[in-house]
């Protein structure tokens, strides 16, 4: 187990390396000149040249990439004009746009995204698996149909529509909830939760249906298996059968999915954060992409990549723990 995890973690490093190369490559394919964007539209060519040198963009790509890699291991010193700014390892470089160390930028913004992601995940797993379960228990009934409609409406509605809808309903019309502003968890856990409720819900609604469908279909599949018949024959109630004996097996694909969706969720978190104005990495990524802020983009992709890859390892371990027949390999 430990050696397995260690091996997988090594794999994550490889994944991150590939990711960073991919980002560097697409960056050089994409249009636009970051030096010009940093310098402003009315900069003259000479000034742009100076800024380019200042950002290190005048060097060949492989040199830049090498600097990036060494920065992660050893850190870097950057001139501020009057002195030096030390960027500790792991240094992902300085933002082209704001001169801040990327690591700082990400660390500052990670809590908001992590809160959003965790909250949304909990909500969508609860809503998704819950309604999947319920719709199996109430097969063919009104409950199942209503649940299906609601969750499907969720998947068919983009965050920028459901977000506004939720805001108008709960914040503007009913005034039950505050307009979300990010309150750090350590400052005030209660406000943190209230403020995150809507963004998490908007994000969760998008994913919940998927889990509801998967849970349902998977449950129906396991309910057809022989071992379920055993418990039926012993008078175990339908709820216990579904909840205790069918669900376990049915959750296997759901676990695999959750981990994989962790990645696509960052995409949706991007829109959610922009929509609700949460200071998370998603918003940072949108802005960095638009302004071709390479260090920020690479840094973010690597951090989210690591998160996704680790989530996948956790899922695989969980999966093996849940189903001992599956050997970790």
């Amino acid at each position: 187990m430990i050696s397995y995890v260690a091996r997988r973690l090594l794999g994550v490093l490889a994944v991150l390396l590939v990711l960073s190369v991919v980002v560097y490559a697409t960056f050089y394919l994409a249009p636009g000149d970051p030096a010009r964007l940093a310098c402003g539209p009315k900069c003259d060519p000479e000034q742009v040249r100076q800024v380019r040198a200042q950002l290190g963009l005048d060097q060949p790509v492989y040199v830049q990439y090498w600097h990036f890699l060494t920065g992660i291991v050893t850190g870097h010193d950057y001139s501020t004009g009057t002195g030096v700014r030390h960027c500790d390892a792991p240094c992902l470089g300085l933002s082209f746009q704001s001169d801040q160390p990327v690591t700082d930028l990400i660390v500052q913004r990670l809590p908001a995204t992590a809160s959003l992601a965790a909250g949304a995940m909990v909500l969508w797993l609860v809503i998704g698996i819950g309604s999947g379960l319920l719709s199996v228990l109430r097969r063919g009934g009104v409950t199942e149909r209503v649940l299906t409609w609601i969750t499907l409406a969720g998947t068919a509605t983009p965050v920028f529509i459901s977000g506004i809808g939720l805001l108008m309903l709960f914040c503007a019309y009913l005034e039950w909830l505050p307009f979300p502003t990010y309150v750090p968890l350590v400052d005030d856990p209660e406000q943190w939760a209230w403020n995150l409720l809507l963004p998490c819900l908007a994000l969760a609604l998008l994913e919940a249906a998927k889990y509801a469908r998967m849970t349902r279909s998977s449950l129906l599949e396991t309910l057809a298996e022989d071992h379920v018949r055993t418990f039926r024959a012993y008078g175990v109630g339908e709820r216990a059968i579904v909840g205790r004996h069918a669900l376990r097996g049915a959750l296997a694909p759901v676990i695999a999915l959750t981990a994989a969706d962790f990645g696509s969720m960052f995409g949706n978190a991007m829109l959610t954060e922009t929509m609700f104005g949460l200071p998370g990495v998603g918003q940072l990524l949108v802005h960095a992409t638009q302004t071709i802020d390479l260090p920020v983009v690479v840094g973010l992709v690597m951090v989210t990549g690591a998160a996704v890859a680790i989530a996948n390892i956790v899922a695989d371990v969980l999966y093996a723990v849940a189903d001992r027949r599956v050997a970790l390999r």
């Binding site: 990711l19 697409t26 249009p31 506004i164 809808g165 249906a209 998967m214 695999a256 999915l257 969706d261």
Partner: protein, 334 residues
């Protein structure tokens, strides 16, 4: 000896006289046809396709086209909100007009269906294809293949679709058909989840004796994958594909939102939705129409996916009948 080798006169004998039973595919088809829900969903999707393909025809019927501006139909001083009740519904404009431009919404929805359906279905197919192949290869291959493919999947899962969409659409040749480009971009990037799902399921199935039996028959790995695993994978794959489809529609919407989607003036549901965001209260119909189309499509695909999944399972035939019976005749059979 001879006596023993004749078929027993047991109950199975009653079937002997019956016409040769249908083959697998035909049985699935028969089970599918027997379901009203499947027929309804297929009908809805068929209608959508007809509406999309026949968009010019229906536009001519209404006497409108998707691009003409109607300045007179919007209240310029009030942000271009359509004149008249319900988003400007009238005999000329059956579903009203678009705020700001006065373009006919009915026709735009029809033309939008073309792009949205094509992109969503196309991208989903690409995702399913890659996801199934990679997932199966990872499950069936040796440790090295599994870990390489696993890492590839990790990379894909971690790639932010929208960021790469921006880069790719920017470098794609100007005259490369946009819908196709979207299909390629979404399809090639967002297949990781499917691959993981397939791998997990396949690993579970591989533990069963029938796969061992297939191996004993000398079947190649590829044949095992096709004959023994795919039928078992069909259920989760179809279910998941049915939920990926609306996600792909939303991906197209998000890409339109970021300006890398379908090129105007061509409409798509996603593009319509993304520009309708703020019109919730001023012109609700403008938001509701594309959202409704998205919902109906999602719903139809989900129902169809669900029924196809069920029809593929020979055991399901008896299972579903239960629900009906239980409701009508309580405790009638035991």
């Amino acid at each position: 000896m001879t006596e023993l080798l004749t078929a027993p006169s047991g109950p199975s004998g009653t079937e002997a006289g019956a016409a040769a039973p249908a083959s697998g595919a035909r049985q699935v088809w028969r089970r599918l046809r027997a379901r009203k829900a499947a027929l309804a969903a297929a009908a809805v999707l068929g209608l959508l396709v007809v509406l999309a393909l026949g968009a010019p025809l229906f536009a001519a019927l209404e006497g409108q086209d998707p691009t003409t501006y109607h300045d007179g139909l919007v209240d310029s001083a009030r942000g271009g909100v359509p004149v008249g009740p319900f988003g400007g519904i009238s005999a000329e404009h059956w579903l009203g007009v678009e705020p700001g431009t006065g373009r006919d919404l009915f026709v735009r929805l029809l033309y939008g269906a073309r792009v949205s359906l094509a992109v969503a279905v196309g991208a989903t197919l690409v995702q399913v294809l890659i996801g199934v192949v990679v997932g199966l290869a990872a499950a069936l291959g040796n440790r090295l293949a599994d870990s390489v493919l696993g890492h590839l999947t990790d990379v894909m899962v971690a790639l932010p679709l929208l960021v790469f969409a921006i880069a790719v659409t920017a470098v794609a040749p100007e005259d490369f058909p946009r819908p196709l480009l979207l299909v390629v971009v979404i399809g090639l990037i967002a297949w990781g989840a499917m691959a993981r799902l397939v791998r997990a399921q396949a690993l579970g199935l591989l533990k069963l004796d029938y796969v061992s039996a297939a191996r004993l028959s000398g079947a190649s790995t590829w044949r095992i994958a096709r004959r023994e695993l795919l039928p078992g994978l069909a259920a989760p794959v179809i279910t998941y594909a049915a939920v990926m489809l609306p996600q792909n529609m939303l991906n197209e919407a998000s890409m339109s939102f970021l300006g890398v989607g379908i090129k105007p003036p061509t409409p798509s549901w996603g593009q319509m939705l993304s520009s309708a965001t703020t019109w919730f209260r001023a012109d609700p119909l403008y938001v509701v129409l594309p959202a409704l189309m998205l919902f109906v499509t999602t719903f139809a695909f989900t129902v169809l996916g669900d029924t196809v999944r069920a029809a593929l399972d020979p055991r399901e035939a008896s299972r579903l009948r239960v629900g009906r019976k239980r409701r009508t005749r309580k405790g009638g059979s035991s």
